[in-house]
C-alpha cells in the first residue's frame, strides 16, 4: 500500500505539490492524470526518493520513506520498477544488456542465468527478436517495451509508468496499455501510471485521480471520472478549449 499525506513541494519559485494526498491499495492500478507540468513526474520522483518533500508524509507498506537514510532508500527501490517517459535505456548497451543490468548489478547469479531471465522478460513484452539490437535501432514503442522489461526484471512489487504512451501511435499505445493490464493480471503488481492520455487511463485504471494545482481534485473509477461534474476535470478529459483550464 502506498500513501501520500499532505505532501508539499516547491521547485524554484513554483509550488508543484500543494497538499497532495492519495492512497493506492496493493494490487491496484492507479492512474494520475493532469496537464503537462502539473507535477505528475515530480510525484513519482518523491515516491522513489529522488526528491524529498518540503512537508508531508509518504508511506510505502506502512513505512515512512521521507525519513529513510540513503541505504534504506536503496533497499526500498528494490521493490520498485519504473518505466520512464523516454524509456531511459542506456544507449551503449544492447537491449538484453539493458534488461539484464539490474540483475548484473545486484545479484551473484551466473551470467547465463541472468541472460535467461532477461530473455524471459523480453518474451513477456514480445521483444525477444530485438535482444541484440542497440536502443538507437528501436522504434519508440519498442524502446518503451524494452524499458518495461527492464522495470520488471527484478520482479518488483510496485511498477511506476511515466507517460508510457507519450509519442506513440494509437496502435502502439493500445499495445502498451494491454501490456500494462496483462502485467497487473499476471503478476498482481501494484501500478501507478501518470499520463495525460485519457484512452490509456480508461484502459488500464482501477481508479483515476486528476492532479491540478498540486493536489488531486477528483478521484474515482474510470466510469465515475467519465461522468464527473467537476468543470476542470470535464474540460481535461474532453480536451475542450472552453473552460476553467483555459487553452
Amino acid at each position: 500500500m502506498i500513501e501520500f499525506v499532505n505532501v508539499h513541494k516547491t521547485l524554484g519559485d513554483r509550488k508543484v505539490l500543494d497538499g497532495l494526498t492519495f492512497r493506492v491499495e496493493r494490487g491496484e492500478t492507479f492512474v494520475i492524470i493532469g496537464r503537462s507540468g502539473c507535477g505528475k513526474s515530480v510525484t513519482f520522483k518523491h515516491l522513489v526518493g529522488l526528491l524529498k518533500p518540503d512537508a508531508g508524509s509518504i508511506r510505502v507498506e506502512g513505512q515512512e520513506t521521507t525519513r529513510f537514510r540513503p541505504r534504506e532508500m536503496l533497499e526500498l527501490r528494490h521493490r520498485f520498477g519504473m518505466l520512464f517517459q523516454s524509456a531511459a535505456l542506456l544507449n551503449w548497451l544492447t537491449v538484453e544488456e539493458n534488461v539484464a543490468l539490474p540483475l548484473r548489478e545486484h545479484t551473484r547469479l551466473p551470467p547465463s542465468e541472468i541472460l535467461l531471465r532477461a530473455h524471459a522478460k523480453l518474451d513477456l513484452v514480445d521483444l525477444r527478436d530485438a535482444a541484440r539490437k542497440m536502443p538507437s535501432e528501436l522504434s519508440g514503442g519498442m524502446k518503451k517495451r524494452a524499458g518495461l522489461a527492464r522495470a520488471l526484471v527484478r520482479e518488483p512489487q510496485i511498477v511506476l509508468y511515466d507517460e508510457p504512451t507519450a509519442g506513440l501511435d494509437p496502435v502502439m499505445s493500445a499495445r502498451i496499455n494491454r501490456l500494462v493490464r496483462d502485467m497487473q493480471g499476471r503478476l498482481g503488481l501494484t501500478s501507478i501510471m501518470v499520463t495525460h492520455d485519457m484512452e490509456s487511463a480508461y484502459a488500464v485504471a482501477d481508479r483515476i485521480g486528476m492532479l491540478y494545482n498540486g493536489r488531486l481534485i477528483e478521484v474515482g473509477t474510470p466510469d465515475q471520472v467519465r461522468k464527473t461534474q467537476n468543470p476542470i476535470v470535464r474540460q481535461f478529459i474532453t480536451g475542450s478549449l472552453e473552460g476553467p483550464l483555459g487553452d
Partner: protein, 259 residues
C-alpha cells in the same frame, strides 16, 4: 545596490554549492574504487578512450611544442654562442611545466568535455534517474571508472609528452641549430634530476583528478535539455582550464619548497 549585493551573494552561494558537490563527488568516486575489479571492463574502456585514443593528439602537440621551444630559445642562445645548451632548456621545460600543462589542456578539451556531454545527455534523458531507481549508484557505475582512468592515464600521457617534446627539440636542434644528437641528449640528461620528472607526474595526477571531477560533476548537474548539456560541456572545459592553471602554480610552489 541591494540588487547587486543580492546577485553577488547568489553567485557566491552557487559557486560554493558547485564546489562542494564536486569535492563530494570526487570523494565518493574514490570511495567506490574498492569495487574497481567488478568494473574492470568499463575502466579498461575508459583507459582506452582517455589514454590510448589521446596519444595521437598528445604526440602532435608535444612534438611541435618541443620543436618551437627549441627553435625560439635556440635562435636567441645562438647570439651568445650557447645554443649547444638547448637540450637542457627543452628537457627541463617539458618535464617540469609544459608536459603536464599541455597534456592537461588537451585532456580537458578532449576527454573532460566528452565526459560532461555524455553524463549531461544521460542526465537530461533520465538515464541517471533510471540508474538510481534501479538502486545503481551513478557514481560507482559512471564516475568512478572515468575518475580512475583519467587519474591513471594523465601521468602516463604526460610522460609520453615529456619524451616526445624533448625528441622534437632534438630534431630542430640537429637540423636547424646544427647540434649533434649526443650533445643534445647529454645536456638534457645533465640538467634533469628525478624530481623534475616526478613533480611533473604528481601534477599530472592531480590534473587528472581535477579534469575528471569537473567533467563528471558538470555533466551530472546538467538540466534543461540540449542547451543545458551544451552549457555543462562548455563550463567543464573553462573550469578545468582555470583550475589546472591555478593548481599548477600551487603544486609548483609545493614541489619546489619540499624538493
Amino acid at each position: 545596490m541591494i540588487g547587486f549585493v543580492e546577485r553577488t551573494g547568489h553567485r557566491v552561494l552557487q559557486v560554493a554549492s558547485h564546489t562542494g558537490y564536486a569535492v563530494l563527488l570526487a570523494a565518493d568516486g574514490f570511495y567506490w574504487v574498492r569495487s574497481a575489479w567488478q568494473k574492470r571492463e568499463v575502466i579498461f574502456q575508459q583507459v582506452l578512450i582517455c589514454g590510448v585514443l589521446s596519444l595521437p593528439v598528445v604526440l602532435l602537440v608535444a612534438i611541435f611544442s618541443g620543436m618551437v621551444l627549441a627553435l625560439q630559445t635556440g635562435m636567441e642562445m645562438a647570439k651568445f654562442g650557447v645554443e649547444g645548451q638547448i637540450g637542457k632548456i627543452v628537457a627541463a621545460s617539458m618535464c617540469r611545466e609544459m608536459g603536464p600543462i599541455m597534456t592537461a589542456i588537451i585532456i580537458a578539451g578532449r576527454v573532460g568535455s566528452a565526459m560532461a556531454a555524455e553524463l549531461g545527455t544521460m542526465k537530461v534523458s533520465e538515464e541517471i534517474d533510471a540508474l538510481e531507481v534501479m538502486s545503481i549508484s551513478p557514481v560507482r557505475f559512471l564516475v568512478m571508472p572515468r575518475l580512475l582512468a583519467l587519474t591513471l592515464m594523465c601521468p602516463v600521457l604526460t610522460a609520453y609528452a615529456d619524451l616526445v617534446g624533448t625528441l622534437g627539440g632534438a630534431v630542430v636542434g640537429f637540423y636547424q641549430l646544427r647540434i649533434p644528437y649526443p650533445e643534445y641528449f647529454r645536456n638534457a640528461l645533465d640538467v634533469l634530476v628525478p624530481m623534475d620528472i616526478i613533480s611533473g607526474l604528481i601534477k599530472a595526477t592531480v590534473f587528472g583528478v581535477v579534469i575528471a571531477t569537473v567533467g563528471c560533476s558538470q555533466g551530472l548537474q546538467a538540466e534543461n535539455g540540449a542547451e543545458g548539456v551544451g552549457r555543462a560541456t562548455r563550463n567543464s572545459v573553462v573550469i578545468a582550464f582555470i583550475l589546472v592553471i591555478i593548481f599548477n602554480y600551487f603544486l609548483t610552489s609545493i614541489t619546489r619548497h619540499f624538493f
